[in-house]
């Protein structure tokens, strides 16, 4: 009896582990004349029509289509780029937690921007902030950094190494490709975030590519006189393909 109990207790976790195995999925499309099992990126297609226009569209297989009619001509995608890569944009983290910020002890955090733009000939990612880092309760703010020599702005990068220089800024480092703004070619250079709705380019490419990565480093440093509080803001990244 005890042996059976022990066996049961051994089998139980094995069953549990088996249940944890991931499931696999497949898509099947069919009509009366075909069955298509999809194991690739060909995930959508169609030919919408209407009274004054007609548009053909296939995603995944070909890059673009051209359709004409009496009073219209529509091209979806670039005619000269045959790509199955959608224009896509990723942020590795949407929550940049600085934790407790101690005076004269700079805090840096990073996240990674990834752009795949095989179906577009080039792209641009711009960045802006909705406001300075601000404590809502008191209205106190951590101002943008002006860097060591007081020369960095929203469009000009400069060295920021001193722990006695305060504020909030960022830089971009190439991870894959060389798309980060060349203003950051020196590893100690930072810029201020520009206020929305203005925006400045942080990554861009005028060539076709995929999985271009840039690492954004956020740096914040406060003086001993900075009032205590919960400082927050929102950084907006906008990825647009070229035309």
């Amino acid at each position: 009896m005890n042996m059976a109990k022990a066996l049961f207790l051994i089998i139980l976790p094995l069953v549990y582990l088996t249940l944890y195995l991931g499931s696999s999925y497949a898509q099947t499309m069919s009509n009366s004349t075909y069955i298509l099992q999809m194991g690739n990126l060909n995930s959508f297609a169609g030919k919408p029509t209407g009274s004054g226009y007609k548009l053909g569209f296939t995603g995944g297989q070909t890059g673009a289509n051209l359709f004409t009619g009496a009073n219209y001509k529509v091209r979806a995608g670039f005619q000269y780029i045959k790509s199955i890569i959608p224009f896509s944009f990723s942020l590795s983290s949407v929550f940049i937690d600085f934790g407790v910020i101690s005076p004269t002890s700079p805090v840096t955090r990073t996240n990674t921007l990834t752009v795949s733009f095989g179906s577009a000939h080039g792209y641009q990612v711009t960045v802006s902030q909705n406001r300075n880092l601000r404590a809502n309760a008191s209205g106190n703010e951590i101002p943008p950094t002006t860097c060591d020599a007081g020369t960095c702005t929203t469009t000009t990068a400069a060295a920021w190494t001193s722990s006695l220089v305060y504020g909030f800024g960022y830089r971009c480092d190439n991870v894959t490709g060389t798309d980060c703004n060349t203003d950051f070619s020196t590893s100690t250079f930072y810029k201020q975030f520009i206020a929305s709705p203005s925006a400045v380019s942080v990554m861009s490419s005028s060539n076709v590519g995929k999985n271009r990565r840039g690492q954004i480093t956020y740096k914040v440093n406060v003086s001993g006189t900075q009032p205590a509080g919960l400082y927050t803001n929102i950084i907006n990244y906008i990825a647009t393909p070229t035309f």
Partner: protein, 334 residues
């Protein structure tokens, strides 16, 4: 026996706990990954028209993403490489009320917000309704999908929002005359070796965008053709200029691109590249370009001089070494 049973029970308990640990899903900082297809819509219309064009928005993240949908006009950026510059003034359109004619439809219903589940693709429709009296001209705008940031006030933090856009180039006709020309066609006068980069800048002085087609023909001093560079038919917006790359750059996976990659990436602006490496003498490059299918066409020729210093230096050094060895050997023999 009792001890043995206790041991088995402890072992089993550890095994169960271990299996729970192994089975626990990996915890990641929340990411956002979004995509759109196609990246561009190019529409030529004559009102009245009611254009409906399908497009797709993807959420490749591990969690649902809430979007706001925003339309904004744009103009070409000053760097002339096809990047856009967003304009916040909607009234910049030829018809200031044009923004009201654009809608994103989800199953026939206009929407301004959207939630897409993890790893899901959402089919949407871009509707542009043009009344018979719509103001003619070009309308360039981007359809933005703005991910809503988390709301967290638990610590000093920055919240990041990701936005992705699809560009729309819309011409409301009838179109005016196509006007423009070659604004710049240059290459370094002296080259050591190839590949040769050409700076090709085309101007559009029309009231509508076009995608010119053309090529560069390279001939040597005996007027013998050495090769052709086909240009990429990129869009040039109304009253702007743009640098034109070659068509090989449309596929960076190709063998052809690998031959010119260095020359392309060395430049801070798009260039058309002739991939040949060895040149000697005077060459003529002729740019032939047609702004639209039925013209107008333009031609411009430039000359460059090539002298392969690197190759010749290598040959001289090798010859020098051979002569040196021969002389030494002769001296020893004598």
């Amino acid at each position: 026996m009792k001890n043995k049973l206790i041991n088995i029970k402890i072992f089993t308990l550890i095994l169960i706990l271990g299996s729970f640990l192994l089975g626990t899903t990996k915890a990641n900082a929340q990411n956002v990954s979004i995509g759109i297809f196609p990246p561009i819509m190019q529409m030529d219309t004559t009102p009245p028209a009611n254009v409906n064009a399908d497009f797709y928005v993807q959420n490749q993240s591990d969690a649902s993403v809430d979007f706001n949908i925003v339309f904004k006009p744009f103009k070409p950026a000053n760097n002339k490489n096809g990047e856009i510059e967003i304009i916040d003034n909607i009234a910049s359109f030829p018809d200031p009320l044009f923004i009201n004619r654009i809608k994103v439809l989800d199953e026939g219903e206009p929407i301004k917000t959207l939630t897409i589940g993890p790893k899901q693709t959402q089919k949407l429709v871009l509707e542009v309704s043009l009344p018979p009296n719509e103001q003619k001209g070009d309308y360039y705008f981007t359809v933005f999908f703005v991910s809503k940031p988390l709301s967290s006030l638990k610590s000093n933090s920055t919240l990041a929002s990701a936005t992705i856009g699809m560009n729309v180039l819309l011409t409301v006709g009838p179109k005016g005359k196509t006007e423009g020309g070659i604004a710049r066609f240059e290459t370094p006068f002296f080259v050591n070796s190839g590949p040769i980069p050409f700076k090709v800048e085309i101007a559009n002085r029309s009231d509508h965008f076009f995608a010119p087609s053309g090529e560069i023909i390279i001939k040597n001093m005996l007027n013998k053709e050495k090769g052709r560079v086909k240009l990429m038919p990129v869009n040039i917006l109304s009253n702007s200029t743009r640098y034109i790359p070659d068509i090989i750059q449309a596929n960076i996976e190709s063998e052809g691109y690998k031959k010119i990659a260095e020359a392309v990436e060395d430049q801070s602006f798009p260039v058309a590249v002739f991939p040949q490496k060895f040149f000697l003498g005077i060459y003529t490059a002729t740019l032939n370009i047609s702004l639209e299918e039925n013209g107008p066409t333009f031609t411009k020729s430039i000359t460059f001089f090539a002298f392969p210093i690197t190759y010749l230096l290598t040959i001289f050094i090798v010859l020098g070494i051979i002569v040196f060895i021969v002389l030494r050997v002769r001296k020893k023999i004598n």
